[in-house]
Amino acid sequence: MPEPSTVAKALELIGKGAVNHSYFFSKLKSPEWIEPLTEEGFFRDPPPRRVNGEFVSYPVWPESKYLARMAPIAPTQVAHVIGLIPDTDNISVHEDIARVVIHLGARSMARWATKEARWVSEQPRIEHPLDESLGAVVERLAGLGETGAALGLARSLLTIRCVVDSWRPVSVREPAKTYRSGVEGSDGAPTDEEDREVAEMAASVVAQLSSSIVGRLSPYEYRQFVDRHLPALLTICGTRALDMLCDVLEEAIESDTLRRSERAIRRPAIEPHGQNRSQDVSDALIDAIRDASVELVDNGVALAVVVDSLDRQTSPLFKRMVLHLAAERHREDPELAADLAVCADHFRDERLLHEYSRLLGAVFPGLDDVGRNRVMKWIGDGPPFHESFVGDDEERRMWTIYWQRRRLAWIHQDLDEDWKARYARIVKETGEPENPDFTSYTTTWIGPTSPVNAEELGSRSVEEIARYVQTWKPTGDPRQPDKEGLARTLEAVVAKTPAEFLNARGLFQDGSVRYVTAVLAGLSQAVRDETSIDWTAAIDLMLSVVARLGGDSETRRARQRCLWLLWEGLRDDLIDIRLRKSVWTIVDAMADDADPTPEADSRHEGDPSTRSVNTVRGTALHTVVAYSLWVYQSEIEPAEARPSAFGMDRIPEVRTRLERHLDPAIDPSPTVRSVYGEWFPHLAMLDQGWARQHVASIFPDGWPELRDAAWETYLRRCPAYNLPFEILRHHYLEAVDRMDETRERDAPRSERIGGVLGEHLVILAGRGLVSWSDDDGLLRRFFENAEPDDADRAIWLVRRDLSDDETHVSDEVVRRFRRLTEGLLELLKEHGRERMGHLKSLGWWIASGRFDPEWTLSRLARLLELAGGQSRVSRCWIAWPGCRGVVRPRLSRCSRHG
């Protein structure tokens, strides 16, 4: 045992801080320290769990880790100390103690397990790996003969219960006397009217509620626990283990207090089956009971004994497990299995139908004549008709036939000749029964499907294909092939052989719009696959679509397909400029389409920019810009490619079209307006004067919804170009000033417009287009107004490039960022530490290695001083390449221990 002076010295050292304390206990290898440390008051103060908002953490307790290591060496000493540890909610400590007690004697372990089971029962969740440690204790206890404690601890872990999903209605009164409707009555009791109101509210709320089953362990951990630890428990405890599991399940069923038709525990089949779609904790428990009961029988326990264990519970689920077990192991006790099969209650109970059908199918061939005759008489008698049945005689007959068909199907191979003939007649009249062993059967399919595959369709001539698609008719069954499926197959065939379809386009032009759309989609795919197509023929086909009137969704899809195809051709300059007039005819016609309607815009489904490519008018405006760039490319020689060389005068049709949609009286759609924002840099390139002249119309202050649609799309979709910035500087300023009005605190960091605005400004600062000392204070105002995350995101982006050794950054750019850094530090000094959240990444920026060491060191020091030792700022030191000499090793040495 260590000398008192050594202990005192140790206390002095470990009293310096948590790192020393933790290190000391992690290094102890001898149990000799247990006694003196206990005398000093250790082992009585486990750290509680920590709750931080919605997060919970469980601090490590060095003392319990030490005890866990010492338990195999000095179990008696450790057992004494374990008794001193007070109750704790720290799962990490429970896990250590579980590892300790496994080395103790049976009685000590059982006492602890009983106490631990009580604690577990009070916990909503048991986190992994505590479940594993407790599972090991359960097995050890059972092995030592402490079966009661073992089963108790296992039960506390395996308990599951039903909970009501979603929300709890606060307006529904619970104890009547505490109900208040706002104005308190003299005795606080509800009036009749309030009672009625509450009852109605409760009924409507309950109708929307559903329940589910939850356990202390996750479904995965639950199954792992059952698989790993139950076999040992079953071997040692036998039917007591099975009884424990049955009790847990019965209690869970009882806890489903909503008593709706849709119960929380739904189990279509007891055996493993595709219909058992749920994989929650109740499924794991049912599987465990099912397998345990079979295993007990296989291990020599009488079938009747196991059946009795299951049958003791009242829920029909257990009766189904009895029937399942009898079906699986009927040869162990044929008489009992036959009794269960030839039981009128079982035969009539629809809730038992699946397991009963399997049992009857299994034992029917071996039944004696009495049993067989009894079953056949029940089938012959037909179903019991409730007095509320309202059908006529024919309906009654058909109902009986279907009912009998289902039951005969279970045993049709073992029927006598008369019944076989009768069953054949029923099947002839009504068809083969589908899934006769289920009262309801869930099935899924994937659609749409095609009546022919692409290979088969592609093997035919275009004429044959055209005839086939125009004449083929679907059955109407949603699970069967339909026109959409066929259209998709046609699209795939067209994509492979576009020329053949374009040559025979007349065969499709006048047919179903759906198949014209498929041909256009196939052509688009071919273009994407870099297969050349005859654009004259393609445009001819598109003109036929333009000529089609109608505002139905089919026609709209066809129009949109046209525009997408045209877009592909214009973007990649695949279309001959001599087709300019025809191309414009198509684009111009589509640009007046009614889609998007004001109603569709008002639904705000997705951002305007995304909506624009899914609407006809929006896509048409995108194509107008693509058309302009196509003409620009074809008319401007590379040598004269400069902004002033081209203008809207060269494309007057585009000018008219663009200006038309800038009039909110004609086109009030934010979806369409977003297109101008997305292409603003290109429009400025095509005609700078036009862009300057129309900038106020594109981002109109008087129409905030239109302005924001264009402005936000511009910021999100366009990099920070110089020329657009010069034109839009005033709008950048206004956007910075508007940041107070348009707070987006709930929006994810990546989606916040403030962050994107900051990125633009910081990039522009690097280019020298804005600076901290500008008269209008644009940059400074941004950092003053911005939400912390937005300001930080702006810095983070540039820091990423600055830290990347591969990126070339000129000295001039470095100097500009130095000036910006000085400005940001000045801002921090002015506003104090509360602005620090805005500039979490500033340290990383300074430490990027781009600035000279002396400047870096002094600014990092100032930043640390201003930040008041905030850890995120402090850590940036480690990133600074300059730290690699002297500072870094020392810092990392400290940081190893926090």
């Binding site: 050594t6 010295k9 050292l13 304390h21 290094k27 290898k29 000093e40 103060d45």
Partner: protein, 165 residues
């Protein structure tokens, strides 16, 4: 007035303070914590759910709110001291009670010495004063300077010396 009350207790008609308010508040808090621990009407995280009427329920909730406020805004000197030390420890972890008590006792001893000295209730010699200053410096260094390998090396050496390495 307090001083006058102490000098003339009879005239002050019982208004004389016979114990600090803070002490009484903490006693009440201990009583509430005990009730939470032992009462069947309280559970975590449900709170007070016993068969109380609405008025008592509200009162108990408000009492809890009050002591939460006391904990965060008017902690005891000891709690304030402990919180500061945990805040200064880079690991963010607390030390076990014996070590916390040890540090608090050391702090109290120093605090008491410097208070007495500065209020002229005692006049230690220069050596004694220097010794205490040294203690204070050592204490502050232990909580303000980051842990280094030197400390860990010292622990290793100590364990080796005691035969546990």
């Amino acid at each position: 007035m307090e001083k006058i009350g102490e000098l003339y207790p009879e005239e002050a008609e019982g208004r004389t303070s016979t114990g600090s308010m803070k002490e009484r508040v903490f006693k009440l808090k201990d009583a509430l914590d005990k009730a939470k621990r032992l009462s069947a009407g309280y559970s975590e995280p449900g709170g007070w759910t016993g068969p109380f009427d609405r008025h008592l329920h509200r009162f108990l909730e408000k009492l809890g709110d009050f002591f939460d406020w006391v904990d965060s805004h008017r902690p005891s000197r000891r709690a304030q001291f402990q919180r500061t030390l945990v805040g200064l420890d880079p690991s963010g972890h607390d030390l076990p009670k014996p070590l916390r008590d040890r540090r608090y006792r050391a702090w109290k001893r120093m605090s008491s010495f410097f208070q007495k000295t500065s209020h002229h209730r005692s006049s230690p010699g220069l050596d004694k004063f220097r010794e205490r200053i040294g203690e204070l410096e050592a204490f502050l260094s232990s909580v303000l300077l980051p842990t280094t390998f030197d400390d860990l090396d010292a622990i290793d050496a100590l364990l080796k010396e005691s035969g546990d390495a």
